[in-house]
Symmetry: C2
Subunit: 449 residues, 2 copies
Amino acid sequence: MYRVTTPDTTELQNRHAGNRSSALLTDKYELTMLEAALKDGTAHRTCAFEVFTRRLPNERRYGVVAGIPRVLCAIRDFVFTEEQLAELDFLSPETIDYLRNYRFTGDIDGYREGELYFPNSPILTVRGTFAECVILETVVLSILNADSAVASAAARMVTAAAGRSIIEMGSRRTHEYAAVTAARAAYLAGFDATSNLEAAKRYGIPSTGTAAHAWTLLHTHPDGSPDEASAFRAQVEAHGQGTTLLVDTYDITQGVATAIDVAGSELGAVRIDSGDLGVVSRQVRRQLDDLGATNTKIVVSSDLDEFAIAALRSEPVDIFGVGTSVVTGSGAPTAGLVYKLVEVEGQPVSKRARGKESRGGAKGAIRIFRNTGTAIDEVTYPLGGDLPEVGDHSYVQLSIPMVRDGELVGEIPALTESRDYLAQQLVTLPWEGLALTRDEPALSVRHTT
Amino acid sequence: MYRVTTPDTTELQNRHAGNRSSALLTDKYELTMLEAALKDGTAHRTCAFEVFTRRLPNERRYGVVAGIPRVLCAIRDFVFTEEQLAELDFLSPETIDYLRNYRFTGDIDGYREGELYFPNSPILTVRGTFAECVILETVVLSILNADSAVASAAARMVTAAAGRSIIEMGSRRTHEYAAVTAARAAYLAGFDATSNLEAAKRYGIPSTGTAAHAWTLLHTHPDGSPDEASAFRAQVEAHGQGTTLLVDTYDITQGVATAIDVAGSELGAVRIDSGDLGVVSRQVRRQLDDLGATNTKIVVSSDLDEFAIAALRSEPVDIFGVGTSVVTGSGAPTAGLVYKLVEVEGQPVSKRARGKESRGGAKGAIRIFRNTGTAIDEVTYPLGGDLPEVGDHSYVQLSIPMVRDGELVGEIPALTESRDYLAQQLVTLPWEGLALTRDEPALSVRHTT
C-alpha cells in the first residue's frame, strides 16, 4: 500500500510554508498544560489521543479522510526554533528546554488518505507521553478538518456529476493557502483538474483554465463598442481551436454564433457562467449542433454545488466548473473532528459532559463487507489487541500503522493512489449511502469494548 | 492616517510564507489571458479592475473590509522565481519573459482596513496595464474574501457580546494558516485575544488559554478513578490563582466546588464548555457567590455564534470563547467579493450577463453623514475626478491612495489602529444596522455616473 511516489511525497521534502516549523500553529493552552504537567510529573504518563467526529455535518451519509500526509509532515516539522521559543515568555525555563528538544517519538495509527469515515470512526490515534501528544492537537485538527471538509463535499459533487468532468476553480473564495490544499482535497475526491497553479506545482494536479469576462471586455472596436470577435480570435490564435470560449459576456446566442464563426465548428468548448444553466445549456447545445459544432463541449459554472450539479444531470452539460461551494465544504466548512484523550497509562478515560461523551481506550477499526462487496458496518477493537470476530464476512483493516517511535512506517501513498482508493471505497457503500439528501450515516460504528 | 507602527507592518518585512513569492497563488486562466493579450497587443491597454460585492451574505447589514495590508504585501511579493517559471510549460517564451520581469507598477486605491462596506462599494481599485492587473485577481480575492468573511462575522459577535470579553479559539477548525489570519481578522473586529500562538507572534495579538478536558482526564487516583482536584491543584500551582479552571469534565456542580476548594475564592475564572449555557451559567454564578468567589469569572464556550452570544446577554457570563463559527464566517465562509474589469483606456466597460451586471468606470466613494454623525449613504464618483456634491452634510472619503507607480503610499496602519477605526465606524451606522436579523444592507451605494 505505502510505496514511494512523487506528488504527495514532495510535501515531505518541502512543505508549502517553505521548510518552516509548524510548532506555533498551536493553541496556547497546549503549552500551559504542558508546563503544568512538567511541574506535577504527569507529563510523562503514556497517553492515547484519538481524532474522531461525533456527527457528520448536515446529516450527510459519509465523510472522506483527507490531509493525512500533510499531518504526518506537520508532525515531522513540529520543531521549535530559537526565534519561536523567544516568543513564549509565559513559560518557565524548564518548559522552554523541553520544547527546544521536542521531537515526536510516539506512535500513530490511522485511516488511509481517501478512506471513508462515520461518526465515531477512530480516524487517527496518536500515542506517546502526554507532553508529546497534547501539543499536537491544533495542527493535527486544523489540517484534517480543513482537508476532510473539502474532500467530503467534493466527493458528493463527483457523484452528482455522474461521470462528467468536474473542475475545481474556487481559489479566489478561500484563504490563499487553503486554496492550494483545497485543490488537492478536491482532486483526491475525484475532481479532474484545478485552476490553482501552486496546487498544480506542489501536488502534480492537472491544471486548467480558459478566460474571464475581463478578456472579452478588454476588446472593443475603435468607437468603444464591444468586439467579442476580436477577443475570441486572439484566444484561438494563442491557444488553438481546442480552447474554451466564454460566451456570456453580452448575449449568449450571439456569443455562441461569434465563437463558432471565429473558431470554426471544431471549437473545443464554450463556457456559460450565468443564467438558468439548464435552459441555457439546452439552447446552446441546439445552436452548436445546428452550426455543425457537434463536438464542441459545454462547460458550465456559476455557484454550482452538488445539488445544482445533480439538477443538471439530464442537461447537455459536459464539464462542471465548481468554485465557492467546494472550497468552503458546501455548507460545512469544517469537518468537526476533535482530538480527545482516550487512554492514560493503559486505562480508558472519557469525559461525561452532557452531549459530549466519548468512548475511552485506544481503538482500531475494521470495516465488514457482505459477500457482494457492500459494506455492512465498522467495528472497533483495542488498538494492538485482537481483531473482532467477523464470522464468514470479509473485512478491511482501517487502522494502519503510520508512525512508530517517531519514524514514518512505510511510505506516503501518491495522491493519485489515494484518489483511486477513495473511488473504490465509495462503490462499497450501500446504495442509499451516495444519496445527496439528509439522512443517517451510511454505516454505523460499533464498539466491541 | 498611515503612519509607521509595528504589528501589521512586520507582515511587510516577513510574510507568513517565509519571504516566498505569491506568484503561483493564481488561477491558470490569468496567465493564458496574459499570453493571448501579449500576442494580440491588448496587454498594454490601461485598465481598472474593481473589487466589490453584489450582495452581503445571509442578508447581513454590513461587511468589514479586512486583509488590505496582506493584499499589499502579496502584490509586492508577486515575483516569479525561476523555479516557478519552469512549471509554466504551457506558456510561450515571450510570456515567460514577461513574467520573469514582472513587477506591479500601477496604482491602487481602496477602502481602509476595518472600513465598513456594502453591496457595490468600490473596495479596491487596481489600475495599470491589462497584463499587470489581470494576473493579480486570485491572490487579491483570496485574501480579501477570507479575511473579510471572518471580520464581518466577528464584528457581529462583538456587538452581540455587548462589551463583554470575547476570545477567538477556532484554529483547529480551519486550515492551519487560515487560522492565523482568522485570528487577526477577529482581533481587527474587536475580539480581545486569540488562542493561536503564531497569530500572537506575527501580529502582536494578545494570546490566552486555559486547559482542555484532557488535562483533567490525565489526572486519576491510583485506583484509576478521576482526580479532578489534582488537575486543578497542578494548574493553579503552575499558573497561579488567576487561572481559568475547566469545570465540566465530570459533574459541573462538583467541579465548581472542587475548583474553589483547591484554588480559593480568588480563583480567576471557571470555564463551562457544554450543556445549556444559560441555565448552567446561572447555577454556577449562584454557587460561586455562595462559596464567596464573587470575583471569579465565568467563561463559556461550545459552538457559540453571534445568535448564541446574544441569547446569553442577560446571563452572568463574563467571557465568551468562540471557535468554529468565527473562523468559518458564521455561515458565510467567503465574503463573495469579485474583481472585475471596469475601465479600458478610460472607457467604462461592463458585462451584461443576467444577474451579474456591473457598473463600469473606475470609482471612488465617499460616505455621507447627518449632523448627528449617523451615516446616510455612500456615493461613488469617477476616481481622480471631482467629489460628489454633499450640500451641508459632512462626509468621509472612503477611497484612499495606497499604491502609486507600484510603490506604497504612506504606511500601513497598525492592526490596533484599524481595530479602533472599525469600532468608530460601527457607531455611525443607523441603529438598525447593528441588528443581527436578516434585512437590507444598512446603507446603500449610489452611483453618480
